[in-house]
Amino acid sequence: MNAIRSIWRLTPVRGVTIPNYAIRSLSANTTALPHAVEPVVPPVELDKLYKRVELEMRGIDPAVLLSYSWFCVAAASHLGIEVTKSWALRKAEKERHTLLKCVHIYKKHKVQYEIRTYFRFIHMQRLTGSTCDTYLEYIERNLPEGCALKVTKIECQKLPEHLVPPKKESEE
């Protein structure tokens, strides 16, 4: 009950404050109007540069992965992306669980269950940001069931402008 009362007390205060803000913002607008006439030039958004993009796909079925990697390479070649490497691990990664065959007794008799995960890798290099986004969107939308994709992007940037040796005057 007390809580409701406190809310009840609080609400009119809020109601009062909101019009205050509104008035404040209005007055701010009127003062800012002469300055706002200048056209605001949006900063030019530069394309990102990706030195290398590495796709790692993992799935439960090697045949599906093979088809998918074939599709990825084909799409890359149509879009003019340079594919440097494409390979698969020779063996699947196996996650094993060993259990007793009988639940309570016979310790010498066990069963082993395993989950196999197959891997495939594709490396490509020298993509611009827009190409990379388009391509990744395309292949991610066509990702088949039972597959997962990890994309590692190595972006190259200029050194930030503030990484310059400090001047002697500024130190003193």
């Binding site: 394309d47 540069l49 030195k51 079925d61 045949a63 599906v64 088809s67 998918y68 599709f71 084909a74 799409a75 149509h78 879009l79 003019g80 020298r126 993509l127 611009t128 827009s130 190409t131 986004d133 388009t134 391509y135 990744l136 395309y138 991610e140 066509n142 990702l143 088949p144 069931e145 039972g146 597959c147 997962a148 994709l149 990890k150 994309v151 590692t152 992007k153 190595i154 972006e155 190259c156 940037q157 200029k158 050194l159 930030p160 503030h162 990484l163 310059v164 040796p165 400090p166």
Partner: protein, 343 residues
Amino acid sequence: MSILIKRSKSGCFNSACNVKLWRLNSTSADSALKKGEEEEEFRVLDILKKRDKMQRRVVKRTDVQPDRIDRMATNQNWGNVWPGPKTFHPSSVPLPIRQGYVPKGQAPPGKKANAELMKIPNFLHLTPPVIKSQCEALKQFCTEWPNLLNSEESIEKHYPLEIISSDYCHASPSIRNPLARVVILRVQLADLKLDKHATDKFKRLVGDRYDPKTDLVTITADRCPTKVQNLDYVNYLLTACYHESWNFEDWEKEKTEDDMEYYDWDNNASKRSLIDWYLRVKNELKIMNDEEYKAFDISQIENGAQYKASVSKYMNEGENPQTVQEYSIAVRKLFGLPQKKLV
């Protein structure tokens, strides 16, 4: 039963006065009406329903449509037949596919009613011509890689900073992957504008994030919950380390010979003993202080420069056959001894 229902529907109001009306409505009373209207009769319950039998339902056989593959033209556009990802359907795929595990010597079952073909995700919507046409449509959103950045050296020269991050796409209850937040920054130490003191301090600040073999500084950030925050944090770390390494604190003047990151021959006992030996040979031995030792010009000593180089290399690179051999050659030259003969 139908009579009762119809009666209740039509004339629940004033049933007594309007007998004819509900009689007309009922079907079984029609024959009675024809015989004579004036003769009121009880209606007969027709149990066997001899008079008008219900019409028998004729089970119509629906025509089974012929397979779609029979009506397909050979020059059709396959992309229109199979436009998107779909489970395998035998009557729209004109291929003699067989799939399934059978004992040896038997043929695997055909495509009709074959669950094996339906289990595996198919790529029938991504045939080479379809991929090509879709890529043609997508090409307008792509941009060319700049021509001048055609080698690794030029990329590293103009864009030395590397930001590495990963994206994940998988089927799971959540589309978020916590590993996507990790951001790694990598830069070559030589690309940062640092002087001798600042380089040393920078290396000490970043610690094991610097790899002396590849000259790379790798800063990994994963403590913030999102990628943008980690990116900001990585940039902050680099900036902070950089500017801190340029600061020269008062206590850094207390750096002694033990704190040196490399062996400086001029400050060490090796130079002192060399000068002492040289002066003693010339019979000009005198007592000198540290400053004089440091300022002593060793170019007047014959083969002194080579000795200095070999000792520095020995101490900086560690003991290995090459450095030991160079040291022995330098010492023999210095003392005027014959060189070791190669066997």
